[in-house]
């Protein structure tokens, strides 16, 4: 895969600094907007307020109302207009306020955004990024904690990615904006305030690649987004029992980069796939199916999955039970090791 090159930003942010994921995303948009006057940010409350999570804080002030658009309250409008703007040569970065609010725009995503390139046989490009704060764990009301990424991974013509840390947030969002394909960019909202050291001049992985985050020998955890931290915590806890877990951050959900997962499974013989989304027909199903196919002779146990449940997202008092946690991950590891 050709890796898009991303030049370090020249905006005086080239010094290594400790940033939150929200800040990393903000810096990424700022860098992209400085580099390319065609990059726009659009969404509900993204301007004056800076977004309900403040991810676009300060952008309208610095780039103006014509590049950071407080849009009417209409998701189909946000995405449909972004398609038109993209056809006119702009690179819109749309914010959908919460995961559960994307569905008024689903039609435009599936019917227009994803198919324009194929329909026109490449004559029309729609380089639109749709940023979606997703996942649970924040004690919110209905429609504010969902994990709909698998619905989009199922749609041909869309790239679907999810960042798990501030450094990836910074690079991956810039790569998504630079991509000539439409990208669904899933941001784990409960990790927005996690911090990491960001060096804007450092090397970084190309778009579309997964990453091995932790070496081990007992079993492999493959995950993405908010569950990466959970899995790393589980791997640390597992050492108390003498188990060394490998952790792979999938990063790209469509296309999947399963090379590092398969390599890992050939070493460990066991795979547990973890995500917050309901399990049925999900990204985790896809990973399980393909690894089973690719690594059949290396597997010592069936591929396990740890997910939310095939229920609507519950009222928040129940979300601790719905969301995979360290214990449920380790329980699956135990079941895998017991084979």
């Amino acid at each position: 895969m050709a890796a898009p090159t991303v030049e370090p930003t020249g905006s005086g942010t080239a010094q290594p600094q400790t940033v939150t994921m929200a800040k990393g995303l903000n810096m990424a948009m700022r860098a992209a907007m400085e580099r390319d006057p065609k990059v726009l940010v659009m969404g509900e409350d993204v301007g004056k307020l800076g977004g309900v999570f403040r991810v676009t804080d300060g952008l309208q002030k610095d780039f103006g109302e014509h590049r950071v658009l407080d849009t009417p309250l209409a998701e189909s409008g946000i995405i449909g207009a972004a398609v038109g703007l993209a056809m006119r040569g702009f690179r819109p970065v749309c914010e959908i306020q919460f995961d559960g609010f994307i569905f008024p725009g689903f039609d435009q995503i599936v019917s227009q955004l994803s198919k324009m390139h194929f329909r026109s046989q490449g004559r029309v490009k729609t380089p639109v990024v749709i940023r979606v704060p997703f996942g649970g764990g924040i004690g919110a009301v209905e429609h504010h904690s969902e994990s709909p990424e698998s619905l989009f991974a199922h749609v041909a013509g869309l790239k679907v990615v999810s960042c798990s840390n501030p450094v990836d947030a910074y690079w991956m969002l810039q790569q998504a904006i630079d991509s000539d394909d439409p990208v669904l960019f899933f941001e784990p909202k409960r990790r927005y305030w996690e911090k990491a050291e960001l060096d804007p001049t450092a090397e970084h992985l190309p778009m579309g690649s997964s990453a091995l985050l932790r070496r081990g020998s007992s079993a492999t955890l493959a995950t993405y987004g908010p569950m990466v931290k959970t899995c790393l915590d589980a791997a640390n806890a597992a050492t108390e029992d003498g188990n060394e877990l490998e952790v792979v951050d999938l990063r790209s959900l469509s296309p999947l980069d399963l090379g590092p997962v398969a390599e890992s499974v050939r070493r460990t013989g066991r795979l547990i796939v973890v995500s917050e989304s309901p399990p049925e027909s999900s990204v985790t199903s896809e990973v399980a199916a393909r690894i089973q196919q690719e690594c059949f002779y290396s597997l010592e146990a069936p591929v396990m999955r740890v997910n939310g449940f095939d229920t609507p997202y519950p009222p928040s008092k129940l979300e601790e039970g719905y969301l995979p946690d360290l214990d449920r991950v380790l329980d699956a590891v135990d079941r895998s090791l017991a084979y």
């Binding site: 309900v52 108390e240 008092k317």
Partner: protein, 417 residues
């Protein structure tokens, strides 16, 4: 009355008066300043605004919407507004004290909601957004029944069929199409426009949404369907002028009630801080619907006096001046002044209602503090009408997994073994 009467286009000369300093338009389209001036036209400026009680508590008449209201009914609506406001303020406090995950304040919108809610008849159906605590109150839903949504123990505890009140709808505008469908059903079942029996027994539907929602496709589609099927639905738009941080001019360049013209049904702008006007216009609109004359759009012109929710910080995007100006138009205060001045109520009544409000707040708080967490199996209940084998298996497996913790005296930080 002809539709033209209700839906005449806004007159440019009115706009000019609204802001003399606005730059002249270079085309037929108004300038941005004129748009804002037009949208901001309030009880002072909006010639089409229906008002029966001024902010100073003066009873005024209206040629089309005057209404006979008994002293008893006025006192009841005063009580409605004071009580629901007190519960609303307690909701804010409970969130601040960590007892609720979030609260959605209705402060300032009591008159719009109580007027509309008291216009509904028992057989009518209401489709709310998520700020309609006053409407819920009128449908006989105790404020404590709202708490589960905001504490995170349920997604809505009342029975829509029994109460005639749909569950709160959080995705903006969704309910407007649902309301139209429900109203179509009322019509298909012959519950509309029957002149051979008590006309008050006919049914209607009312749906509630905000100025922001009017940008959503679902609201447009709801109105298109309602007009095509002549559905007995009243679209009650509370224009509180803010969609989180975005003022109304981010959603429209004409006053919202004028949009009804495009759908071919009446649109009326009512003073949303005047409970008498809200009641009168809502009653008229519901009667139009139930008698078979089709849909009506009501724009209740009001102001969101608090933040969007307790998670929002409104000081980041709006000026205090507006808020101060709207404080003078408070819906409860104007009715209190009127009741006392006209001797429809005495100070004893006002005090009695205040005491009742404090009692409600105490009961509301105590109920909240004592709400049990739902059991884990609730997560899996009623996902389908026919039990799903997939969900049942996940439930059994999960409960089995949980029971392992009890046996092991499990430490939540450690592993499960």
């Amino acid at each position: 009355m002809s539709p033209e009467h209700w839906t005449r286009p806004s007159r440019s000369e009115d706009r000019g008066h609204a802001d003399e300093t606005a730059p002249a338009a270079t085309s037929a389209a108004p300038t941005r300043e004129q748009v804002i001036a037009g949208l901001r036209a309030t009880s002072e400026g909006g010639a089409d605004l229906v008002q029966l009680l001024t902010p100073e508590g003066q009873r005024v008449s209206h040629p089309d919407f005057d209404i006979e209201i008994s002293g008893q009914q006025l006192r009841e609506m005063y009580r409605d507004m004071v009580l629901i406001r007190r519960a609303d303020r307690e909701g804010n406090s409970l969130q601040r004290q960590g007892q609720l995950g979030i609260w959605v304040p209705l402060l300032g919108q009591e008159a719009a909601q109580i007027g509309a809610g008291r216009a509904l008849r028992p057989q009518d159906m209401a489709f709310p957004s998520y700020r309609e605590h006053g409407v819920a109150w009128c449908r006989g839903i105790d404020p404590t029944e709202l708490l589960g949504i905001f504490r995170g123990t349920d997604h809505g505890s009342w029975d829509p069929n029994r109460t005639g009140m749909g569950l709160y709808t959080i995705v903006i505008g969704n309910q407007c199409v649902n309301a139209t469908g429900y109203a179509m059903g009322q019509k298909f079942e012959g519950m509309v426009g029957n002149s051979d029996r008590d006309p008050n027994a006919n049914e209607a539907t009312m749906t509630f949404f905000g100025d922001g929602a009017t940008s959503q496709g679902d609201v447009h589609e709801g109105m298109v369907w309602a007009s095509v099927y002549d559905a007995p639905v009243v679209f009650f738009c509370q224009n509180n002028q803010w969609a989180i941080s975005e003022p109304t001019e981010r959603q429209t360049r004409v006053p919202l009630y004028e949009r009804a013209r495009g759908y071919g049904f009446p649109g009326i702008r009512v003073d949303g801080n005047d409970v008498l006007a809200s009641l009168a216009v809502s009653k008229w609109a519901l009667d139009e619907a139930r008698s078979g004359n089709g849909p009506v759009l009501i724009e209740a012109f009001t102001y969101r006096m608090d933040a969007h929710t307790t998670s929002d910080d409104a000081t980041r995007y709006r000026m205090d001046d507006d808020l101060q100006a709207w404080k003078l138009k408070d819906p409860i205060e104007r009715l209190r002044v009127y009741l006392l001045r006209e001797q429809i109520a005495d100070q004893g009544f006002i005090d009695e209602v205040q005491n009742e409000a404090e009692e409600l707040a105490t009961r509301f708080r105590e109920f909240c503090l004592n709400m049990p967490d739902p059991p884990p199996e609730r997560m899996f209940s009623a996902v389908y009408a026919d039990e799903s084998p997939v969900v049942a298996a996940q439930r059994d497996e999960y409960l089995d997994y949980l029971s392992g913790f009890a046996d092991a005296g499990h430490d939540t930080e450690g592993s499960v073994r």
